[in-house]
Amino acid sequence: MIVLITSILAITLRAGTSLVYATIGEIYTERSGILNLGLEGMMLMGAVTSFATVYYTGSLALAVLAAMFVGMILSSIHAFLSITMRANQVVSGLSITLFGTGFASFLGQRLGPAENGKYLIGLIGEKFTPIAIPGLSGVPLIGAFFNQDLLTYITYLIIPIAWFYMYKTKNGLNLRAVGDNPQTADAMGIDVLKTRYLYTILGGMLVALGGAHLSLAYAPGWTENITGGRGWIVIALVIFSMWNPSRAIWGALLFGGINAVQFRLQASGTDIPASFLNMLPYLATIIALVVMTWIEKYNKKIGAPGALATSYMRGEK
């Protein structure tokens, strides 16, 4: 039994890793007041470019950089449209997702080698494999944490750093002010537009990195719709986390856990229809949203950044 739980926990962490990166990325973006609904597209683009890169170069480091570069480009477009052009952020974000989804699928059919009909699907490349930490990985339960791939280990660091930076540093304070009340932030000498650009792009890089984890570690290779709608789940996870990076872990664990259980059940040949099991993460998303909104109603302090999804221009009434 303990062995089973340990293995489920290990899968949970693996499944949750991409969610952690994307959730923290989107939390930072939204904390600056920018809503980026382009996550699904950015994750897919991150996944396809990183896999293509690793397939041709064999370098995981280059693959990760390639994903982050693509995330940077896509989120820069969103930043330019919503910050400088002051376009509607929902529309801009959705366009990024539409574009990213379509273009990733296109790349998946064009970037492959000629002998595979230019398809990336079905190919095998380098991947992040679990690195067991001697001594710790054998411990029941706890061991699950210490038999993971490098990208998962990095999340153990990223979560506390992201929390500390947001709540304990000068830059984090300024970031929160920009997203909550840009008029005040501006009057206090903070460069609102620069801050928003910075964190929208940083957030986009993390989101794409989340996508890279899927194609380099969780489900190595490229398949159409490899994200399975994770980009959308992350939008719910951000709300579930109440825009606090330290809570991103719980959402990621919950949804990673449901993934893991679903995976286990399917493997054990249960009678529950597969489509029902596939639905579970999304059902949990809805339930979590309802519960969190309900809690928020009774605790008025925490909540969305006050200026989320609104553009800012100095001196505009």
């Binding site: 540093t169 000068k170 929160r176 002010a177 000498g189 006050g306």
Partner: protein, 514 residues
């Protein structure tokens, strides 16, 4: 020997700023001397805030020059202003309400450590608090504070940042008299220490008591520069408005008719779940103005909101023209002819992104002639608005201008025009003249009295005792959610009203009941 002419530490020369449709500043000059207070006067919309926003880097002038300590400076952003030692308390507070006092104070400061040392910040805040007798808790959240406390945080920010030139844009408009005094003392102390201040206010006694110079703006132009000791309130008011201002309003004798509003043993909770109204009872007759006096936050908001259907009544009943309207929806009260001029005019009184015309039609649009066959009739709405704009002298570039672009006084006139237009029996006016200049205040008060002479019942909530005495027929004093007593205005005196506001009951205060 000739006496040496003092050199101003700050000069603004020929500042001009054009907004779409409004010339907000035209060739305005300004001089500020070290250790002195300059009072900047002008009607709502005269361009005072614009001029000050130019100094603090929020607005770029179209032309003109700023000279600080003898050197021409370019102020391109609030950051530049801060580095030059210019600090401003804005007319609308610049505070992040989800953050603490300490966090707000250090916001955007380069000089803080990368990893924040909030203990050190708190200590420094406490030192400033002690020095200026400015009571603030560094760890309190802004959203928990009253406006008076928030204003203290604004001042604290200036001091913490070491501003030498202080700009205060109507800092006392929302404060109680005690809080205003406190603030004035702090500014006095700061100027004694060599700092200089520009102070915008509509309160003449403040101008007279503690400014050294007065500059008056009218429609964007500088019309007068005088030494405070060489002038008086009446002259200043006339300079501002460009005509004679009446400080006392003529009013006919009250001729009350039938009871229009009856509030019976009403209790209600506030948004935090604490009892905010305790067993409140009173009634108002047609042709009568009942004033509600009291320090803000003593249940006035809950009282007016229960009557207008915006707040739940816990116990008791509210009758409008004899009909029980307890806990009815706002639309039912609108249909019953109740009009409401809310305290927060921008948040509750208008839809900023809609035109002046749409805002004016907002109560009548459901019915003919503005709606026909279920469709709006834009032409009729436009014409109705044009009439109201003329009648109430609302100054707007056009009826199609978004209402948020108007000045505070004109926004208030828009609300007043709409509410009076739609009023059939009862008018609830909450702080209707708050933050308005003398000219606008006078016209708002006159309109309210005219409504009463038309046979409406009026409930007037105000913090300004002189306003209550000059406008209302009877005055009820509220303290901590209860009515301390109701007095006839003719027999009321400020002192006993003040005592009741502080929680002393009618009998003990010595006033005669009404």
């Amino acid at each position: 020997m000739e006496e040496k002419q003092p050199v101003p530490i700050l000069e603004m020369k020929k500042i001009t700023k054009q907004f779409p449709g409004v010339l907000a500043n035209e060739d305005v000059d300004l001089e500020l001397f070290k250790g002195e207070v300059l009072a900047l006067l002008g009607e709502n919309g005269a361009g005072k805030s614009t001029l000050m926003n130019i100094l603090s880097g929020l607005t770029r002038p179209d032309s003109g020059e700023i000279i600080l300590n003898g050197k021409a400076v370019d102020i391109d952003s609030p950051r530049d202003a801060m580095h030059l030692g210019i600090g401003m308390v804005h007319q609308n507070f610049k505070l992040v309400s989800t953050m603490t006092v300490a966090e707000n104070v250090i916001l955007g400061l380069d000089s803080e450590n990368f990893v924040l040392d909030m203990k050190k910040v708190g200590k420094k805040i406490n030192e400033i608090s002690d020095h200026y007798r400015l009571k603030v808790d560094p760890d309190a959240y802004i959203w928990q504070m009253s406006v008076g406390e928030q204003q203290r945080v604004e001042i604290l920010k200036l001091i913490y940042r070491g501003a030498e030139v202080l700009i205060l844009d109507e800092p006392t408009a929302v404060l109680t008299p005690q809080e205003s005094n406190e603030l004035n003392e702090i500014v006095k102390k700061m100027t004694k220490e060599g700092k200089s201040a520009i102070f915008i206010t509509h309160k003449m006694d403040e101008v007279m008591n503690f400014s050294d110079w007065v500059r008056v703006l009218q429609k964007g132009k500088l019309v007068s520069v005088v030494r405070t000791r060489d002038t008086n309130p009446k002259d200043l008011a006339n300079l501002m408005v460009g005509r004679e201002v009446l400080f006392r309003i003529e009013k006919k004798k009250c001729n009350p008719g039938e009871v229009r509003l009856e509030v019976k043993n009403v209790s209600a909770l506030n948004s935090k779940g604490i009892e905010a109204l305790k067993d409140v009872s009173f009634s108002i007759r047609a042709g009568e103005i009942l004033g509600i006096a009291g320090v803000a936050g003593n249940g006035q908001r809950e009282l007016t909101e229960t009557i207008t259907g915006l707040h739940k009544v816990l116990k008791g009943h509210i009758f409008v023209e004899g009909e029980d309207m307890t806990n009815k929806a706002p639309i039912d009260l609108i249909k019953a002819g109740v009009s409401h001029i809310p305290s927060d005019r921008v948040a509750m009184g208008i839809v900023g992104d809609m035109s002046v015309a749409s805002n004016l039609a907002m109560k009548e649009y459901r019915k003919a002639p503005l709606t026909q066959y279920g469709l709006l009739h834009p032409k009729r709405i436009f014409n109705l608005a044009k009439g109201m704009i003329e009648l109430f002298m609302i100054s707007t570039p056009s009826p199609n201008t978004n209402v948020k672009f108007l000045s505070g006084g004109n926004i208030q006139k828009t609300i007043l025009a709409r509410e009076i237009g739609a009023c059939r029996g009862l008018l609830i006016a909450v702080y209707p003249a708050r933050g308005l200049d003398v000219g606008a205040t006078e016209s708002v008060r006159k309109e309210i009295i005219a409504e009463r002479d038309n046979g409406k019942a009026v409930l007037l909530v105000s913090e300004d005792l002189e306003e209550l005495i000059s406008v209302s027929d009877r005055i009820a004093v509220m303290s901590e959610g209860t009515i301390m007593g109701i007095v006839d205005t003719e027999t009321a005196d400020i002192e006993s009203l003040g005592l009741m506001m502080a929680g002393v009951s009618l009998k003990e205060s010595g006033a005669k009941g009404g």
